[in-house]
């Protein structure tokens, strides 16, 4: 795992890191105003939350590769919401948290084929403008928030009845 080889830029950050980071349970961040939590701390936190199943159990996320020191490539899973056409299906996604995360939103793309407004039919890339969590990204948002928002989109009237490709197909490009 990434150790504290990261430069601690200020005392405040040290406080945040020490008290907020890597503590089990929900809502580990102590959000001090004006403090920007370093990227890797944030991502480690999210990693732990993903492993502990924080949330309602309808989305899951984790590192694509456990050896990825940069914590950039993530995998997500959304369980199709009931009473929609996505029900009983599991949608795999790739989430890429760039160097400016969490100031900048992550790139999200579906791996499992899906017919959803805001997702490109050809490659599964999620249109940033179509998902409000991405369009109006805040640094307090997280991968979980994005996945949950996508799941909420599946429950929208305009999406919940869209015909879907056969189960199990993935985007190849």
């Amino acid at each position: 795992m990434v150790t504290c080889a990261l430069p601690l830029l200020s005392d405040k950050m040290a406080v945040a890191a020490g008290s907020g980071c890597l503590r089990p349970g929900v809502g580990t961040e102590i959000i001090l105003p004006g403090v920007k939590v370093p990227r890797n701390f944030r991502l480690l936190e999210e990693l732990e939350e993903g492993q502990k199943g924080v949330g309602d159990g309808t989305v899951s996320w984790g590192l694509e590769d456990d050896e990825d020191m940069t914590l950039t490539r993530w995998r997500g899973m959304i369980i199709g919401p009931p009473r929609t056409i996505y029900e009983n299906r599991m949608y795999s996604l790739k989430v890429e948290c760039g160097p400016r995360y969490p100031e900048a939103p992550p790139f999200v793309r579906f791996v499992t084929k899906i017919n959803l407004n805001g997702v490109h039919n050809s490659n599964g890339v999620v249109d940033t403008r179509a998902v409000s969590a991405l369009a109006k990204w805040q640094n307090s948002y997280s991968i979980r928030v994005v996945l949950q928002e996508l799941r909420r989109l599946m429950m929208c009237k305009e999406n919940m009845k869209l015909p879907q490709p056969p189960e199990g197909q993935i985007y190849t490009n």
Partner: protein, 491 residues
């Protein structure tokens, strides 16, 4: 299920399994959307072994279990170590309702069909499950039958986690997403039998709360439902997609012609918003397609719907009213009932508010014209027939395109010329339409479709250009435009 954390039987069985080795046991939380269990298992075990434990605890088959950890699906051949699953972590579980073992239970759960009073509107869907359950099973993808799968969860009827409405809605969703299934169901003799019983259909429709709401808003609809002729025709329509298509095509054609008449667009819009839209939205939720779309507020399908292409000659619009063949008895009936509600105010059948008596002044001095107008307003079917005549359409179109011609008609002195009388009759009609509708001759598509555009953007179709194109292509038909937009949407 009660939460058990490492109860003795589990530990014992684990100990027995791993008797040979002295592995560390870890406690992993397994979470479903509804449930949470803690499972103790050796940290070296494989996913398959893990699933075995889970299947015992959750009372599900192993091949129904899908485990997710950190955004990845755990395959049977993997080990927990591979995925770094350690003590105290949470794994997500989804219990899939596998398609193959629900066929037999689908036929046994055909019992819901017997009780039509519980959920009458769902009966036609449910009653088909015993017959169509086995047939599509082998050919359709699994998710289709997950709807059937929920049926298997209903031990008896209406019990279990999936309540009746949910399951029924799911069935309908499956239906809508898979048109072949719909046609299969329609072909089913059981369904056809039921659909040819108008009383049953009517009862089913009436007891549906959505329809009741709709009926409250639009009393014309209840009139329509009370007319057995109409019901029979509707059911024929719903049964036969070719016939339905023919009818839709006629309606669309006639409607688009109406649009080219000045003022006609406004009338259309009114007609749509008052009647068709609530029907569409209610019916779409209910049926997937809209068997009433052609009938609710239908203005112009004066052609008899037939199972094949219609080859009968169109009626003579200028013939005496008694002899005009009552072809569209179904649609005529619907529009007649709407007239009773509307009088001379704009209504579905009389959208332009033709008031025969009010036209007596000046331009329509001739008694023949007056009586014609009166006949039209009293017998909306005549108007339908008139408007559906081929030469009528072309005349209207040419008149619409040539505003000069129309304006000439307003000159009362021009009516004296007998050779032009027929043409002027038309011009006067046009004037009347214009007067009734209050539209202008020069409307851009954007203005014409303003309301539709608003609706589309409210629905989330933000590409205004595409919306406009789609609306133009479909002639203002919102639902067809939506289909177009969805069909061509790249993202």
């Amino acid at each position: 299920m009660a939460e058990n954390s490492g109860t003795d039987p589990t530990v014992d069985s684990n100990v027995v399994e791993n008797a040979a080795s002295d592995r560390t046991m870890i406690v992993v939380t397994v979470k479903t959307p509804k449930d949470k269990e803690e499972i103790t298992i050796s940290e070296d075990s494989s996913v398959a072994q893990f699933k075995e434990e889970i299947s015992k605890r959750f009372n599900a088959k192993q091949d129904q279990l899908v485990l997710i950890f950190a955004g990845k699906i755990l395959k049977d051949g993997d080990t927990l170590n591979q995925h770094s699953i350690k003590d105290g972590l949470t794994v997500h579980l989804v219990i899939k309702t596998a398609p193959n073992d629900t066929i037999s239970s689908a036929s046994s759960s055909g019992t819901p069909q017997a009780n039509s009073s519980v959920n009458p509107s769902s009966a036609p869907n449910d009653s088909t499950t015993p017959d169509t359950g086995p047939t599509p099973a082998s050919t359709q993808p699994p998710n289709l039958l997950s709807g059937f799968g929920d049926l298997s969860n209903l031990s008896g009827m209406g019990m279990g986690s999936a309540n009746f409405m949910e399951m029924q809605q799911q069935m309908q969703r499956q239906l809508m997403s898979n048109p072949e299934m719909l046609s299969q169901i329609m072909d089913n003799p059981l369904v056809q039998n039921m659909m040819s019983n108008p009383d049953l259909m009517r009862q089913m429709i009436v007891t549906n709360p959505q329809m009741q709401q709709l009926m409250e808003r639009n009393p014309e609809i209840s009139h329509m439902l009370n007319n057995p002729e109409l019901m029979r025709q509707t059911m024929e329509l719903a049964r036969n997609p070719a016939m339905m298509q023919e009818m839709m095509r006629n309606q669309d054609r006639a409607l688009s012609n109406l649009e080219s008449i000045p003022g006609g667009y406004n009338a259309l819009r009114r007609m749509y918003t008052d009647i068709q839209e609530p029907m569409f939205s209610a019916a779409r939720e209910q049926f997937g397609n809209n068997p009433f779309s052609a009938l609710g507020g239908n203005l112009d399908s004066g052609v008899q719907p037939s199972r094949t292409e219609n080859r009968e000659p169109l009626p003579n619009p200028w013939g005496p009213p008694g002899t005009t063949p009552l072809e569209s008895r179904g649609t005529g009936a619907s529009t007649t009932t709407t007239t009773s509600a509307g009088g001379t105010a704009p209504s579905a059948s009389n959208p332009l508010g033709i008031n025969a008596s009010g036209l007596g002044n000046g331009v329509f001095g001739s008694p023949g014209m007056q009586s014609l107008m009166q006949q039209i307003s009293e017998n909306p079917q005549l108007m339908q027939n008139m408007l559906s005549a081929p030469y009528m359409r072309s005349m209207m179109q040419s008149l619409a395109q040539n505003p000069d011609l129309a304006s000439q008609g307003s000159n009362p002195t021009a009516t004296t010329n007998p050779s032009q009388q027929q043409q002027q009759l038309m011009q006067q009609m046009l004037q009347m339409f214009a007067g009734g509708g209050g539209g202008s001759l020069t409307v851009t598509p954007e203005v014409r479709f303003q309301q539709q555009l608003d609706q589309l953007s409210a629905m989330g179709f933000i590409n205004r250009e595409a919306n406009l194109q789609a609306l133009i292509a479909t002639g203002g038909d919102i639902n067809a435009a939506i289909e177009r937009l969805l069909g061509s949407q790249p993202s």
